[in-house]
């Protein structure tokens, strides 16, 4: 079936079977390879994307469920100023090791800081509680997100 939706700011149309998951549609049909498959059970967060602005596990969303909606992946936030702050903070704080959780982690961190630009450490922890990182033990990721929050230009 045909699925029409907005991907990273542009309209796209994909011919997909209804039992295709969003993560597969994004990776296989639209080359959004930043979206990673870590478990396909909604338990690891590696496939996190924004659906109408909210973080969701794209392995649990069916392709036709995004009809008429907006999907954002890391590719679509390349020039976003908040994401640029986050990226730099991740790099400088040593928050990146193997990098496989990183795209999903950045999406969650982005949604958190977009809605709450000056979170407490606990709020940051809660914001990324759905993203498992097995390399860093989270410490440097938490530091990076708090650092990014400080970089956000005051309004």
């Amino acid at each position: 079936m045909r699925v029409n939706f907005g991907l990273n700011g542009a309209p796209v149309t994909v011919d997909a079977e209804p039992y295709t998951s969003l993560v597969d549609m994004l990776r296989d049909e639209l080359d959004a390879k930043s979206v990673k498959k870590g478990c396909e059970q909604g338990e690891c967060g590696a496939c996190t994307v924004l659906l109408d602005g909210s973080p969701v596990a794209s392995c649990l969303v069916l392709a036709p469920q995004v009809e008429g909606r907006y999907v954002t992946t890391l590719e679509g936030l390349e020039k976003n100023s908040l994401m640029i702050d986050l990226r730099e903070a991740f790099m400088e704080n040593g928050a990146v090791q193997c990098g496989f959780c990183t795209p999903g982690m950045l999406i969650s961190a982005y949604a958190l800081l977009r809605d709450n630009p000056h979170p407490t450490e606990r709020e940051v922890k809660r914001g990324i509680e759905g993203n498992i990182c097995r390399c860093t033990g989270f410490t440097k990721i938490l530091e990076a997100i708090l650092d990014a929050a400080e970089r956000i230009a005051p309004e």
Partner: protein
């Protein structure tokens, strides 16, 4: 990786249409967030021929107050309920749904779905049980309203007919002097299934408990109320001695099992601990 079983997909835009599809299609399952259903399908534990997606049914997406009830539409997500000032009147529910899964889950998963999945570990169930929630069930034949408890038939089994759809979960807006609380124990601090969960609801008048309701998750085949203990509490002053007695008595009213998430003995003992903590907090909130 593992493929999803093949199915036909339907996206009705009205409840009537959804009900018609459920009544006429073979092996049809309604789906909203899909956070329970999709993993089950991937594990081949559930292979419906037809999926009826409720996300486009605008009339099912609400949290509102109506005739003294807090009404939660079938597609209201945990995130919606967690941030709703109306739902805030039932603090146990807000506590529970704020901690279910992760932001990614809460943005998709619905209260109605959590309940229909009928897991004994469903965290939304104990708070709704103590708030005496009811479930509105519709089919082409009409609407019936049942107490939430009657939705659960056993582990992962609900009492719905194949053509029926839960359209709303509603609970009486608590009166002044009421308080509720939800407590859970998991294997880690977030994004994990409960090993045991407990909710308490009390109404206080003076120092006296005029109403008490308790419910537990993961300690029986379904989420359960513990009515004998509730009876023990009613009409009494909330003293340490009474709490001790209640915490001890509750262990006789639950029937947990041992599995990968915990032992029966532990769960039984934790009912007592969580009962104390939930009751204390509920009473605090009632004051």
């Amino acid at each position: 990786m593992k493929p999803l079983p093949k199915f036909k997909y339907h996206a009705p835009s009205t409840v009537e249409e959804a009900l018609y599809l459920l009544a006429t299609l073979d092996e049809a399952e309604p789906v909203a967030g899909g956070t329970d259903l999709v993993p089950l399908m991937r594990d081949a534990a559930c292979s419906p021929s037809n999926l009826v997606d409720l996300n486009n049914v605008a009339e099912l997406n609400y949290v509102r107050e109506d005739s003294g009830y807090i009404c939660i539409g079938a597609t209201a997500t945990h995130a919606q309920v967690a941030s709703s000032p109306i739902a805030a009147k039932a603090p146990a529910l807000v506590d529970a749904v704020s901690g279910i899964g992760s932001p990614q889950v809460r943005n998709r998963a619905t209260i109605a779905g959590n309940l229909c999945n009928a897991s004994p570990a469903a965290d939304s169930a104990p708070p709704l049980l103590v708030h005496e929630a009811e479930v509105a069930i519709r089919s082409l034949k009409g609407t019936r309203i049942i107490p939430l408890e009657e939705l659960f038939a056993g582990p992962k089994l609900n009492t719905l007919e194949p053509d029926e759809l839960v359209t709303e979960v509603r609970l009486p807006a608590p009166p002044e002097g009421a308080g509720s609380s939800f407590k859970r124990i998991g294997r880690r601090k977030a994004f994990t299934l409960s090993v045991v969960s407990a909710a308490a609801y009390v109404e206080l008048s003076g120092g006296e408990i005029t109403e008490a309701r308790l419910a537990f998750g993961s300690v029986a085949e379904t989420p359960i109320r513990t009515r004998a203990v509730e009876e023990l509490l009613r009409g009494k002053a909330l003293t340490g001695g009474l709490l001790d007695k209640a915490a001890e008595s509750v262990k006789a009213e639950v029937s947990p099992i041992t599995d990968v998430r915990g032992t029966a003995e532990y769960r039984r003992d934790m009912c007592g601990v969580l009962l104390r903590r939930a009751l204390a907090e509920a009473a605090e909130r009632a004051r």
